[in-house]
Protein backbone atom coordinates (compact mmCIF):
# COMPACT_ATOMS: atom_id res chain seq x y z
CA UNK A 1 0.00 0.00 0.00
CA UNK A 2 2.73 2.45 1.06
CA UNK A 3 4.92 1.39 -1.83
CA UNK A 4 2.07 1.91 -4.29
CA UNK A 5 1.48 5.40 -2.87
CA UNK A 6 5.16 6.27 -3.14
CA UNK A 7 5.14 5.09 -6.74
CA UNK A 8 2.11 7.25 -7.45
CA UNK A 9 3.81 10.33 -6.03
CA UNK A 10 6.86 9.63 -8.18
CA UNK A 11 4.60 9.10 -11.18
CA UNK A 12 2.90 12.45 -10.59
CA UNK A 13 6.28 14.16 -10.79
CA UNK A 14 7.29 12.19 -13.88
CA UNK A 15 4.08 13.32 -15.58
CA UNK A 16 4.89 16.91 -14.70
CA UNK A 17 8.37 16.54 -16.17
CA UNK A 18 6.86 15.05 -19.34
CA UNK A 19 4.41 17.94 -19.58
CA UNK A 20 7.16 20.54 -19.25
CA UNK A 21 9.25 18.69 -21.82
CA UNK A 22 6.42 18.52 -24.34
CA UNK A 23 5.56 22.20 -23.90
CA UNK A 24 9.22 23.18 -24.25
CA UNK A 25 9.70 21.09 -27.40
CA UNK A 26 6.63 22.32 -29.28
CA UNK A 27 7.79 24.69 -32.00
CA UNK A 28 6.52 28.21 -31.43
CA UNK A 29 4.67 28.50 -34.76
CA UNK A 30 2.34 25.68 -33.62
CA UNK A 31 0.68 27.77 -30.95
CA UNK A 32 -1.10 31.08 -31.20
CA UNK A 33 1.07 32.78 -28.61
CA UNK A 34 4.81 32.73 -28.82
CA UNK A 35 5.51 32.65 -25.13
CA UNK A 36 4.82 29.58 -22.94
CA UNK A 37 6.11 31.32 -19.78
CA UNK A 38 2.61 31.80 -18.27
CA UNK A 39 1.91 28.10 -18.73
CA UNK A 40 5.18 27.17 -17.05
CA UNK A 41 4.35 29.47 -14.15
CA UNK A 42 0.94 27.79 -13.83
CA UNK A 43 2.56 24.36 -13.75
CA UNK A 44 4.94 25.68 -11.12
CA UNK A 45 2.06 26.98 -8.96
CA UNK A 46 0.19 23.66 -9.14
CA UNK A 47 3.36 21.79 -8.21
CA UNK A 48 4.01 24.12 -5.26
CA UNK A 49 0.40 23.66 -4.03
CA UNK A 50 0.82 19.89 -4.29
CA UNK A 51 4.09 19.96 -2.37
CA UNK A 52 2.52 22.15 0.31
CA UNK A 53 -0.35 19.64 0.64
CA UNK A 54 2.21 16.81 0.92
CA UNK A 55 4.32 18.53 3.58
CA UNK A 56 1.44 20.12 5.47
CA UNK A 57 -0.65 16.97 5.78
CA UNK A 58 2.41 14.82 6.55
CA UNK A 59 1.45 14.22 10.16
CA UNK A 60 -2.04 12.88 9.52
CA UNK A 61 -1.20 10.99 6.36
CA UNK A 62 2.34 10.75 4.94
CA UNK A 63 0.99 9.65 1.55
CA UNK A 64 -2.19 11.62 0.92
CA UNK A 65 -4.20 9.78 -1.68
CA UNK A 66 -6.64 12.59 -2.44
CA UNK A 67 -4.22 15.34 -3.35
CA UNK A 68 -1.99 12.94 -5.29
CA UNK A 69 -4.90 11.68 -7.35
CA UNK A 70 -6.11 15.22 -8.02
CA UNK A 71 -2.64 16.30 -9.12
CA UNK A 72 -2.36 13.24 -11.37
CA UNK A 73 -5.69 14.16 -12.98
CA UNK A 74 -4.54 17.74 -13.56
CA UNK A 75 -1.28 16.64 -15.22
CA UNK A 76 -3.04 14.10 -17.43
CA UNK A 77 -5.63 16.68 -18.46
CA UNK A 78 -3.03 19.33 -19.28
CA UNK A 79 -0.91 16.79 -21.14
CA UNK A 80 -3.87 15.64 -23.27
CA UNK A 81 -4.82 19.25 -23.90
CA UNK A 82 -1.26 20.03 -25.01
CA UNK A 83 -1.00 16.92 -27.18
CA UNK A 84 -4.35 17.24 -28.92
CA UNK A 85 -3.91 20.96 -29.27
CA UNK A 86 -0.53 22.36 -30.31
CA UNK A 87 1.34 19.03 -30.78
CA UNK A 88 -1.04 17.12 -33.06
CA UNK A 89 -3.23 20.05 -34.09
CA UNK A 90 -6.39 17.88 -33.94
CA UNK A 91 -8.42 20.14 -31.64
CA UNK A 92 -10.38 23.05 -33.07
CA UNK A 93 -8.07 25.92 -32.40
CA UNK A 94 -10.86 28.49 -31.87
CA UNK A 95 -13.08 26.41 -29.60
CA UNK A 96 -10.14 24.90 -27.74
CA UNK A 97 -7.21 27.28 -27.72
CA UNK A 98 -3.87 25.92 -26.55
CA UNK A 99 -3.20 25.95 -22.80
CA UNK A 100 -0.36 28.40 -23.41
CA UNK A 101 -2.95 30.76 -24.84
CA UNK A 102 -5.40 30.37 -21.98
CA UNK A 103 -2.86 30.82 -19.22
CA UNK A 104 -1.34 33.73 -21.06
CA UNK A 105 -4.64 35.55 -20.50
CA UNK A 106 -3.76 35.68 -16.82
CA UNK A 107 -0.45 37.34 -17.68
CA UNK A 108 -1.96 39.82 -20.12
CA UNK A 109 -5.27 40.59 -18.40
CA UNK A 110 -4.56 39.53 -14.84
CA UNK A 111 -5.45 42.98 -13.50
CA UNK A 112 -8.77 43.09 -15.32
CA UNK A 113 -9.64 39.60 -14.10
CA UNK A 114 -8.78 40.51 -10.53
CA UNK A 115 -10.95 43.65 -10.75
CA UNK A 116 -13.81 41.56 -12.13
CA UNK A 117 -13.51 39.16 -9.24
CA UNK A 118 -13.43 42.03 -6.75
CA UNK A 119 -16.51 43.57 -8.36
CA UNK A 120 -18.36 40.24 -8.20
CA UNK A 121 -17.29 39.61 -4.63
CA UNK A 122 -18.55 43.05 -3.59
CA UNK A 123 -22.01 42.16 -4.83
CA UNK A 124 -21.85 38.62 -3.52
CA UNK A 125 -20.64 39.46 -0.05
CA UNK A 126 -22.93 42.44 0.50
CA UNK A 127 -25.99 40.47 -0.63
CA UNK A 128 -24.75 37.63 1.41
CA UNK A 129 -24.07 39.64 4.53
CA UNK A 130 -27.49 41.29 4.62
CA UNK A 131 -29.31 38.12 3.60
CA UNK A 132 -27.68 36.22 6.44
CA UNK A 133 -28.17 39.07 8.90
CA UNK A 134 -31.89 39.49 8.21
CA UNK A 135 -32.39 35.74 7.93
CA UNK A 136 -30.78 35.11 11.30
CA UNK A 137 -32.42 37.98 13.20
CA UNK A 138 -35.92 37.43 11.83
CA UNK A 139 -35.54 33.64 11.92
CA UNK A 140 -34.56 33.69 15.59
CA UNK A 141 -37.44 35.99 16.49
CA UNK A 142 -39.97 33.94 14.51
CA UNK A 143 -38.55 30.69 15.84
CA UNK A 144 -38.74 31.87 19.43
CA UNK A 145 -42.30 33.22 19.42
CA UNK A 146 -44.76 30.37 18.77
CA UNK A 147 -47.42 32.55 17.14
CA UNK A 148 -44.96 34.03 14.64
CA UNK A 149 -43.52 30.61 13.97
CA UNK A 150 -46.96 29.19 13.17
CA UNK A 151 -47.47 32.02 10.69
CA UNK A 152 -44.07 32.35 9.02
CA UNK A 153 -42.88 28.77 8.90
CA UNK A 154 -45.39 27.77 6.18
CA UNK A 155 -44.71 31.02 4.31
CA UNK A 156 -40.96 30.40 4.40
CA UNK A 157 -41.56 26.88 3.15
CA UNK A 158 -43.23 28.32 0.06
CA UNK A 159 -40.57 30.92 -0.69
CA UNK A 160 -37.38 29.10 0.24
CA UNK A 161 -37.40 26.63 -2.68
CA UNK A 162 -38.09 29.31 -5.34
CA UNK A 163 -34.76 30.23 -6.97
CA UNK A 164 -34.42 33.97 -6.46
CA UNK A 165 -33.12 34.42 -10.01
CA UNK A 166 -36.72 34.18 -11.22
CA UNK A 167 -37.30 37.57 -9.61
CA UNK A 168 -34.43 39.09 -11.58
CA UNK A 169 -36.59 40.85 -14.24
CA UNK A 170 -38.76 42.52 -11.55
CA UNK A 171 -35.82 43.43 -9.37
CA UNK A 172 -33.98 45.01 -12.31
CA UNK A 173 -37.02 47.27 -12.82
CA UNK A 174 -37.66 47.92 -9.12
CA UNK A 175 -34.10 48.65 -8.05
CA UNK A 176 -32.44 51.98 -8.90
CA UNK A 177 -29.46 50.33 -10.55
CA UNK A 178 -28.18 47.05 -11.80
CA UNK A 179 -25.77 46.39 -8.95
CA UNK A 180 -28.46 46.79 -6.31
CA UNK A 181 -30.70 44.43 -8.25
CA UNK A 182 -27.94 41.82 -8.28
CA UNK A 183 -27.40 42.30 -4.55
CA UNK A 184 -31.14 41.82 -4.00
CA UNK A 185 -31.15 38.58 -6.00
CA UNK A 186 -28.41 37.18 -3.81
CA UNK A 187 -29.96 38.61 -0.65
CA UNK A 188 -33.25 36.88 -1.37
CA UNK A 189 -31.53 33.66 -2.34
CA UNK A 190 -29.63 33.61 0.94
CA UNK A 191 -32.39 34.98 3.16
CA UNK A 192 -35.11 32.35 2.83
CA UNK A 193 -33.05 29.22 3.46
CA UNK A 194 -31.26 30.92 6.36
CA UNK A 195 -34.56 32.16 7.80
CA UNK A 196 -36.07 28.69 7.54
CA UNK A 197 -33.08 26.98 9.09
CA UNK A 198 -33.06 29.48 12.00
CA UNK A 199 -36.76 28.89 12.73
CA UNK A 200 -36.10 25.18 12.89
CA UNK A 201 -32.93 25.49 14.90
CA UNK A 202 -34.36 27.81 17.55
CA UNK A 203 -37.45 25.62 17.80
CA UNK A 204 -35.21 22.63 18.46
CA UNK A 205 -33.50 24.13 21.50
CA UNK A 206 -33.64 21.12 23.88
CA UNK A 207 -36.18 21.61 26.74
CA UNK A 208 -33.44 20.48 29.15
CA UNK A 209 -31.31 23.47 28.12
CA UNK A 210 -34.28 25.79 28.56
CA UNK A 211 -34.88 24.34 32.06
CA UNK A 212 -31.23 24.89 32.80
CA UNK A 213 -31.39 28.55 31.81
CA UNK A 214 -34.58 29.00 33.82
CA UNK A 215 -33.10 27.66 37.05
CA UNK A 216 -30.09 29.93 36.50
CA UNK A 217 -32.47 32.88 36.02
CA UNK A 218 -30.80 33.90 32.76
CA UNK A 219 -31.90 37.36 31.60
CA UNK A 220 -33.22 37.93 28.08
CA UNK A 221 -30.03 39.61 26.92
CA UNK A 222 -27.83 36.84 28.32
CA UNK A 223 -30.22 34.31 26.81
CA UNK A 224 -29.60 35.74 23.36
CA UNK A 225 -25.86 36.33 23.62
CA UNK A 226 -24.77 33.35 25.72
CA UNK A 227 -27.32 30.67 24.91
CA UNK A 228 -29.19 31.17 21.64
CA UNK A 229 -26.36 32.71 19.58
CA UNK A 230 -23.84 29.97 20.34
CA UNK A 231 -26.54 27.36 19.85
CA UNK A 232 -27.47 28.56 16.35
CA UNK A 233 -23.97 29.54 15.19
CA UNK A 234 -23.09 26.10 13.76
CA UNK A 235 -26.22 26.20 11.61
CA UNK A 236 -25.50 29.73 10.42
CA UNK A 237 -22.04 28.64 9.34
CA UNK A 238 -23.31 25.45 7.77
CA UNK A 239 -25.85 27.50 5.82
CA UNK A 240 -23.09 29.91 4.88
CA UNK A 241 -21.10 27.24 3.10
CA UNK A 242 -23.99 26.04 1.00
CA UNK A 243 -25.43 29.43 0.19
CA UNK A 244 -22.04 30.94 -0.71
CA UNK A 245 -21.79 28.53 -3.59
CA UNK A 246 -25.40 28.97 -4.70
CA UNK A 247 -25.04 32.75 -4.24
CA UNK A 248 -22.04 32.70 -6.55
CA UNK A 249 -24.01 30.72 -9.13
CA UNK A 250 -26.88 33.19 -8.97
CA UNK A 251 -24.47 36.07 -9.37
CA UNK A 252 -22.84 34.50 -12.42
CA UNK A 253 -26.29 34.13 -13.91
CA UNK A 254 -27.32 37.67 -13.00
CA UNK A 255 -24.09 39.16 -14.32
CA UNK A 256 -24.49 37.61 -17.72
CA UNK A 257 -27.46 39.97 -18.24
CA UNK A 258 -26.81 43.67 -18.57
CA UNK A 259 -23.89 43.92 -16.14
CA UNK A 260 -20.92 46.13 -16.97
CA UNK A 261 -18.43 44.48 -14.64
CA UNK A 262 -17.81 41.28 -12.74
CA UNK A 263 -16.50 37.87 -13.64
CA UNK A 264 -19.87 36.73 -15.01
CA UNK A 265 -19.83 39.72 -17.32
CA UNK A 266 -16.22 38.94 -18.31
CA UNK A 267 -17.23 35.47 -19.47
CA UNK A 268 -20.39 36.53 -21.32
CA UNK A 269 -18.54 39.45 -22.90
CA UNK A 270 -15.76 37.15 -24.10
CA UNK A 271 -18.49 34.92 -25.47
CA UNK A 272 -19.82 37.78 -27.62
CA UNK A 273 -16.41 38.13 -29.24
CA UNK A 274 -15.87 34.37 -29.42
CA UNK A 275 -12.70 34.86 -27.41
CA UNK A 276 -12.50 31.35 -26.04
CA UNK A 277 -9.16 31.78 -24.33
CA UNK A 278 -10.73 34.52 -22.23
CA UNK A 279 -13.77 32.35 -21.52
CA UNK A 280 -11.59 29.50 -20.24
CA UNK A 281 -9.53 31.90 -18.16
CA UNK A 282 -12.77 33.30 -16.68
CA UNK A 283 -14.06 29.84 -15.85
CA UNK A 284 -10.79 28.92 -14.17
CA UNK A 285 -10.96 32.17 -12.17
CA UNK A 286 -14.50 31.29 -11.07
CA UNK A 287 -13.30 27.90 -9.91
CA UNK A 288 -10.46 29.44 -7.93
CA UNK A 289 -12.78 32.03 -6.35
CA UNK A 290 -15.36 29.44 -5.29
CA UNK A 291 -12.63 27.22 -3.87
CA UNK A 292 -11.18 30.08 -1.83
CA UNK A 293 -14.69 31.01 -0.56
CA UNK A 294 -15.31 27.40 0.41
CA UNK A 295 -12.05 27.14 2.29
CA UNK A 296 -12.78 30.42 4.03
CA UNK A 297 -16.19 29.32 5.26
CA UNK A 298 -14.86 25.91 6.28
CA UNK A 299 -12.22 27.69 8.32
CA UNK A 300 -14.85 29.90 9.95
CA UNK A 301 -16.94 26.85 10.75
CA UNK A 302 -14.01 25.12 12.38
CA UNK A 303 -12.91 28.22 14.23
CA UNK A 304 -16.27 29.06 15.78
CA UNK A 305 -17.75 25.66 16.54
CA UNK A 306 -15.08 24.02 18.61
CA UNK A 307 -17.68 22.58 20.96
CA UNK A 308 -19.24 20.26 18.40
Amino acid sequence: MRKAMKLRIVFAHLLMAALILVVALVPNHRRNVADPTAFFVTIGIIEVLYLVALVHGRKQDPFPQGSTDITLCVWVLLLLWEIFGPVLGIAHNVLLPSPENVFNVFADHGGELALSVVSSLELLLSGFFFGTLFGVILGVICGWIPRLRAMFYPIANVFAPIPSVVFTPFLVILMPNYRLAAVMVILLGVFWPQFLSMILRVGSLPPAIIDNTRVLKVSNLTMITKIIMPYILPDILKGLRISLTTGFLMLMYAESFGAKSGIGYWISNANVFANYANIYAGIITCGITVTVLNYGSAWLQKRFTKWH
Binding site: N212, R214, L216, P230
Partner: protein, 292 residues
Amino acid sequence: MGSLSLRDLCFTYDEDLVKGVQHHRIAPDEVPGEKLVLKHLDLEVADGEFLCLVGHSGCGKSTTLRILAGLQKPIAGTIETNGNPIEGPGLDRSVVFQNYSLFPWMTVKKNVEFGIKQASIELSRGLSKGQMSDIADEYLTKVSMRKAADLYPYQLSGGMRQRVAIARALAMDTEVLLFDEPFGALDIKTRRELQMLMEDLWVSGRKKTAVFVTHDIEEALLLADRIVFMSAGEFRDEFEVSAPRPRVPEVYFETPEYKRMHAHLLDLFYKAEETKLDQADREQVFDGGATL
Protein backbone atom coordinates in the same frame (compact mmCIF):
# COMPACT_ATOMS: atom_id res chain seq x y z
CA MET B 1 -30.30 28.71 56.53
CA GLY B 2 -32.00 26.52 53.96
CA SER B 3 -35.08 24.83 55.27
CA LEU B 4 -37.79 23.75 52.83
CA SER B 5 -41.42 23.13 53.48
CA LEU B 6 -44.25 21.80 51.33
CA ARG B 7 -47.83 22.12 52.50
CA ASP B 8 -50.80 20.39 50.89
CA LEU B 9 -49.08 20.38 47.52
CA CYS B 10 -51.16 19.21 44.54
CA PHE B 11 -50.15 18.96 40.93
CA THR B 12 -51.69 17.77 37.67
CA TYR B 13 -50.61 17.77 34.04
CA ASP B 14 -54.25 18.03 32.92
CA GLU B 15 -54.37 21.45 31.26
CA ASP B 16 -58.14 21.87 31.55
CA LEU B 17 -57.94 21.36 35.29
CA VAL B 18 -54.95 23.71 35.60
CA LYS B 19 -56.91 26.42 33.77
CA GLY B 20 -60.04 25.68 35.78
CA VAL B 21 -58.20 26.18 39.03
CA GLN B 22 -56.41 29.28 37.74
CA HIS B 23 -59.72 30.90 36.80
CA HIS B 24 -61.38 29.82 40.06
CA ARG B 25 -63.89 27.65 38.25
CA ILE B 26 -62.74 24.63 40.23
CA ALA B 27 -61.57 24.68 43.83
CA PRO B 28 -58.26 22.82 44.25
CA ASP B 29 -60.00 20.39 46.65
CA GLU B 30 -62.53 19.42 44.03
CA VAL B 31 -59.95 18.14 41.56
CA PRO B 32 -60.53 14.39 41.35
CA GLY B 33 -57.77 12.41 43.07
CA GLU B 34 -57.05 10.14 40.10
CA LYS B 35 -56.15 13.19 37.98
CA LEU B 36 -53.56 14.35 40.49
CA VAL B 37 -49.93 13.51 39.85
CA LEU B 38 -49.07 14.80 43.32
CA LYS B 39 -51.69 14.32 46.01
CA HIS B 40 -51.69 16.72 48.97
CA LEU B 41 -48.03 16.38 49.84
CA ASP B 42 -46.68 17.70 53.15
CA LEU B 43 -42.97 17.71 53.82
CA GLU B 44 -40.47 19.56 55.96
CA VAL B 45 -36.76 19.49 55.13
CA ALA B 46 -34.59 20.87 57.91
CA ASP B 47 -31.66 23.18 57.32
CA GLY B 48 -28.61 21.10 56.40
CA GLU B 49 -30.59 17.91 55.95
CA PHE B 50 -29.90 15.51 53.07
CA LEU B 51 -33.23 14.12 51.97
CA CYS B 52 -33.63 11.36 49.40
CA LEU B 53 -36.89 11.01 47.51
CA VAL B 54 -37.18 7.39 46.43
CA GLY B 55 -39.77 5.64 44.30
CA HIS B 56 -40.63 3.97 40.99
CA SER B 57 -40.32 5.93 37.81
CA GLY B 58 -43.55 7.83 37.28
CA CYS B 59 -44.34 8.08 41.00
CA GLY B 60 -44.03 11.86 40.96
CA LYS B 61 -40.62 12.28 42.60
CA SER B 62 -39.09 14.17 39.69
CA THR B 63 -42.21 16.32 39.41
CA THR B 64 -41.88 17.19 43.09
CA LEU B 65 -38.28 18.21 42.48
CA ARG B 66 -39.22 20.30 39.44
CA ILE B 67 -41.78 22.12 41.56
CA LEU B 68 -39.14 22.73 44.22
CA ALA B 69 -36.88 24.08 41.47
CA GLY B 70 -39.68 26.40 40.37
CA LEU B 71 -39.92 24.84 36.90
CA GLN B 72 -43.52 23.70 37.42
CA LYS B 73 -46.35 25.40 39.23
CA PRO B 74 -48.54 23.42 41.62
CA ILE B 75 -52.30 23.83 41.34
CA ALA B 76 -52.66 23.99 45.11
CA GLY B 77 -50.51 24.19 48.19
CA THR B 78 -47.50 26.23 49.19
CA ILE B 79 -43.75 25.73 49.04
CA GLU B 80 -41.40 27.82 51.13
CA THR B 81 -37.68 28.18 51.62
CA ASN B 82 -36.89 29.67 55.02
CA GLY B 83 -40.48 30.80 55.24
CA ASN B 84 -40.37 32.64 51.87
CA PRO B 85 -42.81 31.32 49.31
CA ILE B 86 -41.34 29.93 46.08
CA GLU B 87 -42.94 31.54 43.03
CA GLY B 88 -40.58 30.28 40.38
CA PRO B 89 -36.92 29.47 39.77
CA GLY B 90 -34.52 31.25 42.07
CA LEU B 91 -30.86 31.26 42.97
CA ASP B 92 -31.45 30.25 46.55
CA ARG B 93 -31.62 26.79 44.98
CA SER B 94 -29.35 25.13 42.45
CA VAL B 95 -30.24 22.11 40.39
CA VAL B 96 -28.25 19.19 39.00
CA PHE B 97 -30.16 17.46 36.19
CA GLN B 98 -29.62 14.01 34.80
CA ASN B 99 -28.58 15.37 31.40
CA TYR B 100 -27.66 18.71 29.89
CA SER B 101 -26.70 20.35 33.14
CA LEU B 102 -23.84 21.90 31.18
CA PHE B 103 -23.99 24.14 28.13
CA PRO B 104 -22.20 22.32 25.31
CA TRP B 105 -20.65 25.51 23.87
CA MET B 106 -18.92 26.53 27.09
CA THR B 107 -15.76 24.94 28.42
CA VAL B 108 -15.88 23.20 31.79
CA LYS B 109 -14.58 26.25 33.59
CA LYS B 110 -16.84 28.68 31.71
CA ASN B 111 -19.81 26.54 32.67
CA VAL B 112 -18.93 26.73 36.35
CA GLU B 113 -18.18 30.44 36.10
CA PHE B 114 -21.49 31.04 34.36
CA GLY B 115 -23.34 29.53 37.34
CA ILE B 116 -21.27 31.56 39.80
CA LYS B 117 -21.89 34.72 37.79
CA GLN B 118 -25.66 34.18 37.61
CA ALA B 119 -25.79 33.58 41.37
CA SER B 120 -23.61 36.62 41.98
CA ILE B 121 -25.85 38.86 39.86
CA GLU B 122 -29.06 37.57 41.38
CA LEU B 123 -27.90 37.63 44.99
CA SER B 124 -25.91 40.90 44.57
CA ARG B 125 -22.68 39.33 45.74
CA GLY B 126 -20.61 41.62 43.54
CA LEU B 127 -17.89 39.08 42.78
CA SER B 128 -15.05 40.20 40.51
CA LYS B 129 -13.94 38.15 37.51
CA GLY B 130 -10.84 37.03 39.36
CA GLN B 131 -12.85 35.90 42.36
CA MET B 132 -15.25 33.95 40.15
CA SER B 133 -12.32 32.27 38.43
CA ASP B 134 -10.79 31.36 41.80
CA ILE B 135 -14.06 29.92 43.10
CA ALA B 136 -14.48 27.89 39.89
CA ASP B 137 -10.95 26.50 40.24
CA GLU B 138 -11.54 25.67 43.89
CA TYR B 139 -14.65 23.62 43.21
CA LEU B 140 -13.24 21.99 40.09
CA THR B 141 -10.35 20.84 42.26
CA LYS B 142 -12.82 19.45 44.80
CA VAL B 143 -14.41 17.24 42.15
CA SER B 144 -10.99 16.40 40.59
CA MET B 145 -11.79 18.16 37.33
CA ARG B 146 -9.26 21.01 37.51
CA LYS B 147 -7.20 19.50 34.70
CA ALA B 148 -10.23 19.37 32.42
CA ALA B 149 -11.02 23.07 32.91
CA ASP B 150 -10.53 23.98 29.24
CA LEU B 151 -12.29 21.00 27.71
CA TYR B 152 -15.78 21.11 26.22
CA PRO B 153 -18.54 18.86 27.58
CA TYR B 154 -18.50 16.63 24.47
CA GLN B 155 -14.91 15.75 25.32
CA LEU B 156 -15.93 14.42 28.75
CA SER B 157 -17.48 11.14 29.83
CA GLY B 158 -20.94 11.16 31.41
CA GLY B 159 -19.43 10.81 34.87
CA MET B 160 -17.04 13.71 34.34
CA ARG B 161 -19.90 15.89 33.11
CA GLN B 162 -21.85 15.19 36.29
CA ARG B 163 -18.76 16.00 38.35
CA VAL B 164 -18.66 19.40 36.70
CA ALA B 165 -22.41 19.84 37.19
CA ILE B 166 -21.98 19.12 40.90
CA ALA B 167 -19.05 21.55 41.06
CA ARG B 168 -21.19 24.22 39.45
CA ALA B 169 -24.10 23.66 41.84
CA LEU B 170 -21.78 23.80 44.87
CA ALA B 171 -19.80 26.77 43.57
CA MET B 172 -23.01 28.78 43.26
CA ASP B 173 -23.18 28.53 47.05
CA THR B 174 -26.95 28.32 47.24
CA GLU B 175 -28.81 27.38 50.41
CA VAL B 176 -30.55 24.41 48.83
CA LEU B 177 -29.31 21.84 46.33
CA LEU B 178 -31.69 19.83 44.19
CA PHE B 179 -30.61 16.66 42.40
CA ASP B 180 -32.82 15.04 39.78
CA GLU B 181 -31.43 11.50 39.39
CA PRO B 182 -28.00 12.92 38.60
CA PHE B 183 -26.34 9.50 38.33
CA GLY B 184 -29.26 7.76 36.62
CA ALA B 185 -27.53 7.49 33.24
CA LEU B 186 -24.13 6.35 34.51
CA ASP B 187 -22.61 2.87 34.67
CA ILE B 188 -22.30 1.17 38.06
CA LYS B 189 -18.62 1.91 38.60
CA THR B 190 -18.85 5.59 37.75
CA ARG B 191 -22.04 5.82 39.78
CA ARG B 192 -20.27 4.49 42.86
CA GLU B 193 -17.34 6.89 42.34
CA LEU B 194 -19.72 9.84 42.21
CA GLN B 195 -21.68 8.64 45.21
CA MET B 196 -18.41 8.53 47.15
CA LEU B 197 -17.57 12.01 45.90
CA MET B 198 -20.93 13.29 47.16
CA GLU B 199 -20.36 11.61 50.49
CA ASP B 200 -16.89 13.21 50.75
CA LEU B 201 -18.21 16.63 49.83
CA TRP B 202 -20.97 16.38 52.40
CA VAL B 203 -18.68 15.17 55.15
CA SER B 204 -15.96 17.75 54.50
CA GLY B 205 -17.89 20.82 53.41
CA ARG B 206 -20.46 23.03 55.06
CA LYS B 207 -23.70 21.15 55.44
CA LYS B 208 -26.20 22.15 52.79
CA THR B 209 -29.83 21.30 52.50
CA ALA B 210 -30.25 18.78 49.69
CA VAL B 211 -33.15 17.01 48.05
CA PHE B 212 -31.92 14.09 45.97
CA VAL B 213 -34.26 12.13 43.71
CA THR B 214 -33.28 8.54 42.90
CA HIS B 215 -34.70 5.07 42.35
CA ASP B 216 -31.46 3.43 43.48
CA ILE B 217 -31.89 2.02 47.01
CA GLU B 218 -28.15 1.73 47.74
CA GLU B 219 -27.57 5.28 46.59
CA ALA B 220 -30.31 6.63 48.83
CA LEU B 221 -29.09 4.69 51.88
CA LEU B 222 -25.53 5.83 51.27
CA LEU B 223 -26.29 9.54 50.92
CA ALA B 224 -29.45 10.31 52.89
CA ASP B 225 -30.07 11.62 56.38
CA ARG B 226 -33.69 10.80 55.77
CA ILE B 227 -35.51 8.85 53.07
CA VAL B 228 -39.02 9.54 51.84
CA PHE B 229 -40.64 6.80 49.78
CA MET B 230 -43.10 7.94 47.13
CA SER B 231 -45.69 6.01 45.20
CA ALA B 232 -48.53 7.17 42.94
CA GLY B 233 -48.11 10.81 43.94
CA GLU B 234 -48.13 10.23 47.69
CA PHE B 235 -45.51 9.98 50.39
CA ARG B 236 -45.95 6.40 51.61
CA ASP B 237 -43.20 6.09 54.16
CA GLU B 238 -40.26 7.95 55.62
CA PHE B 239 -37.44 7.10 57.99
CA GLU B 240 -34.18 8.50 59.31
CA VAL B 241 -30.87 6.99 58.20
CA SER B 242 -28.81 7.56 61.29
CA ALA B 243 -25.69 5.58 60.31
CA PRO B 244 -22.57 7.63 61.10
CA ARG B 245 -20.61 9.36 58.35
CA PRO B 246 -18.36 8.89 56.49
CA ARG B 247 -20.16 5.82 55.28
CA VAL B 248 -17.76 3.36 53.67
CA PRO B 249 -19.77 1.05 51.40
CA GLU B 250 -17.72 -2.10 52.13
CA VAL B 251 -18.34 -1.70 55.88
CA TYR B 252 -21.68 0.09 55.88
CA PHE B 253 -23.39 -2.35 53.51
CA GLU B 254 -22.56 -5.22 55.91
CA THR B 255 -24.17 -3.65 58.99
CA PRO B 256 -27.48 -5.15 60.22
CA GLU B 257 -28.97 -1.66 60.28
CA TYR B 258 -28.25 -1.19 56.57
CA LYS B 259 -29.60 -4.63 55.72
CA ARG B 260 -32.80 -3.94 57.65
CA MET B 261 -33.38 -0.59 55.88
CA HIS B 262 -32.50 -2.09 52.48
CA ALA B 263 -35.01 -4.91 53.00
CA HIS B 264 -37.64 -2.41 54.14
CA LEU B 265 -37.20 -0.20 51.05
CA LEU B 266 -37.22 -3.20 48.75
CA ASP B 267 -40.44 -4.30 50.39
CA LEU B 268 -41.94 -0.85 49.78
CA PHE B 269 -40.95 -1.05 46.10
CA TYR B 270 -42.63 -4.45 45.73
CA LYS B 271 -45.81 -3.32 47.45
CA ALA B 272 -45.96 -0.18 45.32
CA GLU B 273 -45.52 -2.33 42.24
CA GLU B 274 -48.40 -4.56 43.28
CA THR B 275 -50.80 -1.67 43.92
CA LYS B 276 -49.76 -0.18 40.60
CA LEU B 277 -50.64 -3.42 38.83
CA ASP B 278 -53.93 -3.69 40.73
CA GLN B 279 -54.82 -0.18 39.77
CA ALA B 280 -53.95 -0.78 36.14
CA ASP B 281 -56.22 -3.84 36.15
CA ARG B 282 -59.11 -1.94 37.62
CA GLU B 283 -58.70 1.01 35.28
CA GLN B 284 -58.67 -1.32 32.33
CA VAL B 285 -61.99 -2.79 33.41
CA PHE B 286 -63.65 0.56 33.96
CA ASP B 287 -62.12 2.72 31.21
CA GLY B 288 -61.53 0.05 28.65
CA GLY B 289 -57.94 1.29 28.33
CA ALA B 290 -54.85 2.14 30.28
CA THR B 291 -54.52 5.66 31.68
CA LEU B 292 -51.92 7.43 33.70
